[in-house]
């Protein structure tokens, strides 16, 4: 533990700490451009210069490890002069176009120029200008502003795992780009905008939209996958203008996926802004009273066995519980939250969550991916695996379709029966798992939605038990969900009660006329034509598949418009916060159900969010543990049986469009066009 003195203060730091980090520990701010906490250290901008006793010249503090007895000064004339010099050189070729630059107001260069800039230029020669590069539909470039910090190169290399950015040419002719002018094809590309300290890389969809000081910032949580990335929603005048990541080392670190970041323009399109009722085959606008009265009448008019409810992937825990309380109270048993037909159930919590936690991936030395493409099903989980891979000593093995991941893999094949072979030890991979110090498996949600899903689930449990994945201090059994609502729904038991129908049963019943009323709580992933002649109540925020088939529409709120609870794939309960109001006459979802209970004459016993949250915590204590993961006790789950030899198939065909919001997003449509369609065309040979 080296001891050193910074500005007269003595401190002891962990070995390997850089001088810059030590300064940060003391709260001393050191200006920097190229240094980024999560990236390697190139030390090429020289902005972080400090003075070190006995050194003949200032040192780059970001790259200098703390040494025993070092004496550092950060606030001397030499330091200021050195930093001013660096700043002057950086500004020589900079266009100084802050008034028309989108980074204005949140630009490191602008901020640091206030501290270290000169009030006039001394450079009379011609400035250089650099041609802008085409990096695809998400990233706008103004390359003359680039200060060559190389953060973007390091981000794509190290975090995104797609080595496409580089510096070509030399000296004054050096340029940052991809050389081949290809769009950056990575599900994490939007983070380039955040890492770029200047206005060289900015958000294309957000171009010239707002200044940072005009925005209201709301800290919330993403729901477009089951990772639960922490986000900040920036709004102005009731409109979501952009979404940025919020630091949470346990979940998303400081990155978010492109869908999380850019799908919000879908919040403005195809919204259900008022209740509708279907009359003579056509939907007509209706008032809340009418719509609720009709819904109540239909629910009252049918026997409980003839009523079913299906919750969608974006449903929040509050509305799930309210709906369960309401319909359960009426004796309805056919509740379903697994609209992909998954065999998962609430038998044991450890069976349906990501037990090792996302941060726990960093301890694993052997990872088995079963029937999943983590890049598309949980982009930040994949980023964490890559982070672990870069530390060395990790083997990732894939059982399922071969997919292009951002780390090398060993491919076992795509034969689901291998699971049984690994569990009974007849496959050599069992030994590999057993020999690993911290083995971990990730079971894709698609693998559980097969007809033999329950057997796959049980086989995966057998693998975990037989190969030492579950121990006193380590649980390497993980399910990677895609639906933000899934774990919360399982925690609340939003599942068929005794005698109730599951998804297949509901659809079958609807076709046969045995199910007469279907309540869809934002369920959009089911082919709505399957509901036969049943009366369909749709509660949700987008005019997507569910609403198209609905007989009555109760307009709800999207995740940016409500204070709601979601439980991510790790079992971590998190709260979204209301950033804007629901559109038009739409209402927060639990309030709609509360109002419906009134119309039914069976008012639910909560009138405020606080009361409902109390009820949530009573229903399952995990809802009281916000932002935390409570380890789950291991138990039995799945149904032992033969796993079919059928290969695993991947559930996500297009990362950019997986739910009602992203399907309505123009930006996501552009990304599909740019990144997914060409790949599909190539695969199927329909190119050109």
């Amino acid at each position: 533990m080296p001891k050193l003195t910074i500005d007269g203060i003595e401190l002891e730091v962990a070995p390997g700490t850089s001088v810059l980090q030590a300064c940060e520990q003391l709260g001393i701010e050191v200006p920097r451009f190229c240094y980024h906490e999560k990236l390697s250290v190139p030390a090429n901008c020289r902005m972080c210069l400090v003075e070190m006793e006995k050194a003949p010249k200032p040192i780059a503090s970001c790259a200098m490890p703390c040494g025993e007895g070092m004496v550092i000064k950060t606030d001397t004339d030499t330091v200021h002069k050195a930093r001013k010099g660096v700043m002057e050189f950086l500004l020589i070729n900079h266009p100084l176009d802050c008034p028309i630059c989108d980074q204005g107001g949140e630009c490191d260069l602008q901020d640091q120029a206030v501290g270290y800039g000169f009030d006039r230029g001394r450079y009379g020669e011609e400035k250089r200008a650099v041609k802008d590069k085409n990096l695809g539909p998400l990233i706008k470039t103004i390359m003359t502003r680039c200060i060559h910090c190389t953060r973007c190169i390091r981000f794509s290399d190290e975090i995104a795992g797609v080595s496409v950015m580089g510096a070509t040419g030399r000296g004054e002719h050096m340029e940052i780009g991809t050389y081949v002018e290809a769009a950056v094809s990575s599900e994490l590309s939007g983070n380039l905008v955040d890492v770029c300290p200047v206005g060289a890389l900015t958000s294309k969809p957000y171009a010239f939209t707002a200044r940072p000081w005009e925005l209201r910032k709301t800290e919330s949580v993403d729901v477009l996958d089951a990772v639960g990335s922490n986000i900040r929603i920036d709004t102005r005048g009731g409109e979501v203008l952009r979404i940025l990541p919020r630091l949470n080392e346990a979940v998303n670190e400081e990155w978010i996926s492109d869908k999380t970041r850019y799908a919000h323009d879908g919040l403005k399109r195809q919204r259900l802004d008022r209740p509708y009722i279907r009359e003579n085959g056509k939907l007509r606008a209706a008032s809340w009273e009418e719509a609720l009265a009709l819904t109540a009448a239909k629910l009252k008019g049918a026997a409980p066995e003839k009523i079913a409810a299906i919750a969608g992937d974006l449903a929040d825990a509050e509305s799930l519980l309210a709906l369960k309380d309401l319909l359960g109270g009426m004796g309805v048993a056919s509740l379903e939250s697994r609209q992909d037909g998954s065999a998962i159930d609430a038998a044991s919590r450890a069976g349906y969550i990501f037990n090792s936690t996302i941060a726990g991936i960093e301890q694993a030395d052997q990872i088995l991916l079963i029937g999943t493409n983590p890049r598309w099903e949980g982009a930040l989980v994949n980023a964490r695996i890559r982070k672990r891979y870069l530390q060395g000593g990790l083997t990732v093995t894939v059982l399922g379709p071969r997919v292009d991941l951002t780390f090398p893999i060993e491919h076992l094949g795509n034969d689901a029966t291998l699971l049984n072979a690994i569990a009974d030890g007849s496959h050599p991979y069992a030994e590999t798992l057993k020999a690993a110090k911290k083995p971990l498996l990730i079971l894709g949600s698609g693998a559980l939605a097969r007809p033999d899903g329950a057997a796959v689930w049980a086989a995966a449990r057998a693998v975990a038990e037989a190969c030492g994945l579950v121990r006193e201090d380590w649980n390497g059994f993980n399910v990677l969900h895609r639906a933000a609502s899934r774990v919360g729904a399982l925690d609340l038991g939003f599942l068929p009660a005794k005698g109730g129908r599951d998804l297949a049963g509901i659809l079958d019943g609807a076709r046969k006329g045995e199910v007469e009323v279907v309540y869809l709580l934002g369920a959009d992933e089911i082919d709505a034509q399957n509901f036969g002649r049943a009366f369909v109540i749709y509660q949700g925020h987008h005019g997507d598949r569910g609403a198209h088939r609905a007989d009555v529409i109760l307009p709800g709120a999207a995740y940016t418009e409500k204070n709601a609870t979601y439980v991510n794939t790790e079992g971590r309960a998190q709260h979204t916060r209301q950033a804007t109001f629901p559109v038009g006459e739409a209402r927060e979802d639990w309030k709609i159900i509360r109002a419906l209970s009134g119309a039914l004459g069976k008012p639910l016993p909560y009138d405020t969010l606080q009361q409902l949250r109390k009820r949530l915590a009573d229903a399952n204590p995990v809802f009281a543990q916000v932002d935390r993961v409570t380890p789950a006790a291991w138990g039995a789950f799945g149904t032992a049986g033969a796993v079919a030899a059928a290969p695993f198939t991947l559930p996500v065909e297009n990362f950019y469009m997986t739910d009602a919001i992203s399907r309505a997003s123009a930006t996501m449509a552009e990304c599909t066009e740019a990144f997914v369609s060409p790949a599909v065309a190539e695969r199927t040979g329909t190119h050109g």
Binding site: K131, G166, H173, V180
Partner: protein, 210 residues
């Protein structure tokens, strides 16, 4: 720099059998896991095979061979000026204009090129025979000014001898490499001034003693 500023070139590139064998010998020089270190000699080999310039297909080929991301190869190829990313003439006339050559008259050499070929630095004649470029110190300052023509050095040039050199090339002949003013290698002009007996024994006339 970006690919759109250079010609597309062929769609594919492959080493000839001989070059492939040579490439494998080059790669084998580097320790296991450090194959990427072979990128520079391999690019040079590819350039030699491909009329003295590197199309994108060749860079991608080398990247594939060494397991590198293509952008890492583009970075190297665009950094070093001796890799040509555009086609060059059959005769690649590299005129050194760094200080020693400049002091000894490299302006004259460039002017002679312009007179004879009608092109300035960075240009190629219409018939694709000649490209003239300015280069930094060619490492032969003792015989300044210097042209390196493809791999061969022509030294101690001035205007007329440069024109004569180019004339020989235009006639399709191969000029004699080395000093163009009668000097032997980098010995003094007019013959050796020391070790004169040895020079005489070797049949070289020493400088006349004044």
């Amino acid at each position: 720099m970006s690919a759109s500023e250079t010609p597309a070139g062929p769609a594919t590139f492959e080493f000839t059998a001989d070059n492939l064998a040579l490439a494998q010998r080059i790669i084998a020089k580097y320790p296991e896991g450090r194959q990427a270190s072979a990128v520079m000699p391999l690019l040079d080999l590819a350039q030699r095979q491909h009329d003295n310039w590197l199309p994108r297909a060749a860079m991608d080929y080398v990247a594939g061979m060494l397991g590198m991301a293509p952008i890492r190869v583009y970075e190297v190829a665009s950094f070093y000026t001796m890799y040509n990313l555009k086609p060059v003439g059959k005769h690649f006339v590299q005129v050194c204009t760094t200080t020693p050559c400049w002091l000894r008259g490299s302006d004259e050499v460039l002017a002679a090129c312009k007179r004879k070929l009608g092109i300035g630095p960075g240009e190629t004649t219409a018939d694709g025979q000649f490209t003239v470029v300015e280069v930094e110190c060619a490492g032969a300052c003792v015989n300044a000014p210097v042209i390196s023509l493809n791999d061969v050095y022509y030294e101690d040039l001035d205007g007329p001898s440069t024109e004569a050199l180019l004339d020989t090339l235009i006639r399709g002949e191969t000029p004699k490499p080395g000093p163009q003013n009668g000097r032997i290698n980098s010995a003094p002009i007019g013959g050796p001034t020391t070790l004169t007996e040895m020079a005489q024994r070797n049949g070289v006339k020493p400088a006349s003693q004044e």
